[in-house]
């Protein structure tokens, strides 16, 4: 008996300790949980609910309209244009900035001179205020006084009206987008490249990978797998979220040629104050992000298991 009691005592205190540990844990987590609920969960739930209403800011009452907003979205020419433009923009900016980032990273990695200078030069746009730099680009792209067209004129080429014509505006914005994000990708690739053990290259050479391109295919590309996957997802997500340059430079124009998803949501929700309709658009935007995330996990599960 006595032995049982003496054994139960420490067990009790262990249980009590676990309870107090859980209590303290709750206390530490609680502020985060409350804020997460207030500023993430509740708003997301509200957006989903609002998407089924005809709520407009300024009007007191609203009613549920079922899928009416979504039915309207399918035929809304502005929204379709906006989805298409966002796709085109992402289809240009993501691949170009990824390839450029990888290329620059590999050139810098194999270079010995002025590495930190080059890294700074390419990374500088990431640390710059984008609204401010967009203004500079507007000057660069200016059809009559801008340096880019002046340069083209020197070699006898007629310069386009970069941001002013509906045929070129999306490409001009894409150039700014690539300029802005290539350095970010470069830094991520540089980190991935430095993590590759040198011996692997020596081993590949022994195995007959003579040219540097062979070594790239045999060692660099597979070893960069996880980095590349991450860079791809973040690049697409960031491209889908393009807003600053559009708002600053074109306001969606000319003629809706640069209307992109977040800009359309902004216009509907915060300028025309049609919150219900804008909420339905936001749900579509969220779904796109979910699909991108899901694809990343799928690919991550499927392959890239080297480490």
């Amino acid at each position: 008996m006595a032995s049982v009691v003496s054994m139960a005592a420490p067990h009790d205190s262990a249980a009590a300790h676990r309870r107090s540990e859980a209590q303290i844990a709750w206390m530490l987590v609680l502020p985060a949980m409350i804020l997460l609920f207030l500023f993430v969960l509740l708003p997301v739930a509200s957006v989903i609910v609002l998407g089924f209403t005809d709520f407009e800011l300024g009007y007191g009452k609203f009613r549920f309209v079922g899928f009416e907003n979504y039915a309207h979205l399918i035929t809304d020419r502005t929204f379709r244009k906006s989805l298409w433009n966002t796709t085109v923009y992402a289809a240009i900016v993501a691949p170009v900035s990824i390839l450029l980032g990888l290329g620059i990273a590999m050139l810098i990695e194999s270079e010995t001179a002025a590495r930190s200078f080059f890294r700074t030069a390419y990374f500088l746009p990431v640390a710059s205020l984008i609204v401010a730099m967009a203004t500079v680009w507007q000057y660069m792209f200016h059809p009559t006084i801008g340096p880019i067209n002046a340069l083209l004129a020197l070699v006898g080429l007629p310069g386009p009206n970069w941001l002013g014509s509906s045929g070129t505006v999306l490409y001009s914005l894409s150039i700014i987008g690539v300029w802005q994000s290539a350095g970010f990708n470069m830094v991520l690739f540089l980190a991935g490249l430095t993590a590759i053990p040198r011996e692997l290259y020596a081993a590949a050479e022994v195995d007959g990978a003579r040219s540097s391109f062979d070594r790239f295919l045999l060692v660099t590309w597979p070893m960069l797998g996880p980095t590349t996957l991450f860079v791809i997802t973040i690049s697409i997500t960031n491209a889908v979220k393009v807003f600053e340059t559009v708002k600053t430079l074109t306001d969606g124009g000319p003629n809706k040629a640069s209307e992109v998803l977040l800009f359309t949501i902004y216009q509907e929700g915060f300028v025309y104050l049609r919150v219900g309709y804008a909420s339905a658009m936001t749900v579509v935007f969220l779904l796109i992000l979910v699909v991108l995330m899901f694809l990343q996990y799928r690919v991550l599960d499927r392959r890239v298991h080297y480490t």
């Binding site: 540990e21 859980a22 844990a25 709750w26 530490l28 987590v29 502020p31 985060a32 949980m33 804020l35 997460l36 500023f39 993430v40 708003p43 509200s46 957006v47 609002l50 800011l57 050139l107 194999s110 270079e111 010995t112 001179a113 390419y122 990374f123 500088l124 990431v126 640390a127 710059s128 205020l129 609204v131 401010a132 730099m133 203004t135 500079v136 000057y139 200016h142 006084i145 340096p147 002046a150 340069l151 350095g183 830094v187 991520l188 980095t227 991450f230 979220k241 807003f243 600053e244 708002k247 600053t248 949501i265 902004y266 929700g269 915060f270 919150v275 909420s279 936001t282 992000l289 995330m293």
Partner: protein, 278 residues
């Protein structure tokens, strides 16, 4: 093989890198050059980099007289500072509890964090705007800061960092009679310094540059952040006064760029650390 003086490959490599660098830096060069050009200069010689008549003083004076630069920068510092302070204050205890303490809701909390990572401000802005409007909180620091006081990204990042911390460190502190809050303040935070700096850079760069949310909740110059202030200036400046515009642009870009140039290594480390783990 790699370092042999100037092989053909190396010449090509350096040429490519230099040409690219020129292209990437050209907006800065033109910004600095145009900020010193007189209006007549801008219209006649867009390719000459050295202004014919140095008008830096006039352009900067003009920009300063129309943009409340000190106000904008101050707002930027206050907003970014408050956001960062609350993010860290909320995220560190939470991440510590999730990494090192046993409690029932740990898994649920993890799911919440992973879900939260998916949701940007653009998705929550509509209901938040309606709520701030109802609470008459538009045009205030509170509106600018509150939605960002919680950063799931911070929780996620600190969680990764704390998990890698040895348990012995915490056990030793407990044996010394430290409370859990004491452990967070005196053991965890000092040891989490690299993660805190990395996150600071990520957070400040993100919120200093953010236009979307300030554009929505702020309509008065008094609370404008740097990007928003520049938008106002652009809107007011109907003509092509690029000299003054570039002067304003230069002043507003300078603080973050200067910070980057001074603490370059930390910046790159910070972006890699936060980027790769995100």
């Amino acid at each position: 093989m790699m370092t042999s003086a100037f092989s053909l490959g190396r010449i090509i490599r350096l040429t490519l890198l230099s040409l690219g660098a020129i292209v990437f830096l050209s907006p800065y060069v033109f910004m600095i050059s145009t900020a010193g050009k007189a209006q007549s200069d801008i219209f006649t010689s867009s390719l000459s980099l050295i202004p014919a008549h140095l008008t830096y003083v006039e352009n900067f004076a003009k920009a300063l007289s129309r943009v409340p630069m000190a106000r904008l920068l101050w707002n930027g510092v206050v907003v970014c500072g408050l956001i960062f302070f609350f993010q860290v204050l909320v995220a560190i205890p939470c991440a510590y509890a999730m990494a090192k303490l046993r409690f029932g809701a740990a898994r649920a909390m993890m799911v919440l964090v992973m879900l939260g990572l998916l949701v940007p401000i653009h998705a929550t802005a509509l209901p938040l705007y309606v709520a701030f409007d109802r609470a008459s909180l538009l045009n205030s620091y509170a509106a600018l800061v509150a939605p960002f006081a919680i950063s799931v990204f911070a929780i996620f990042m600190f969680l990764q960092f704390f998990r890698a911390m040895p348990d012995d460190l915490i056990h030793a502190a407990r044996l010394d009679g430290m409370s859990e809050i004491g452990i967070v303040a005196r053991v965890i935070v000092p040891n989490a310094w690299p993660a805190v700096t990395a996150f600071a850079i990520f957070s400040v760069v993100a919120h200093w540059n953010d236009l979307y949310w300030p554009l929505i909740v702020i309509s008065k110059q008094d609370y404008a952040t740097p990007p928003l202030g520049l938008m106002y200036f652009r809107a007011a400046e109907a003509g092509d006064d690029y000299g003054a515009l570039m002067a304003a642009t230069l002043m507003i870009t300078l603080p973050l760029v200067a910070a980057f140039l001074l603490a370059q290594k930390r910046f790159v480390e910070g972006i890699t650390m936060t980027g790769l783990k995100g």
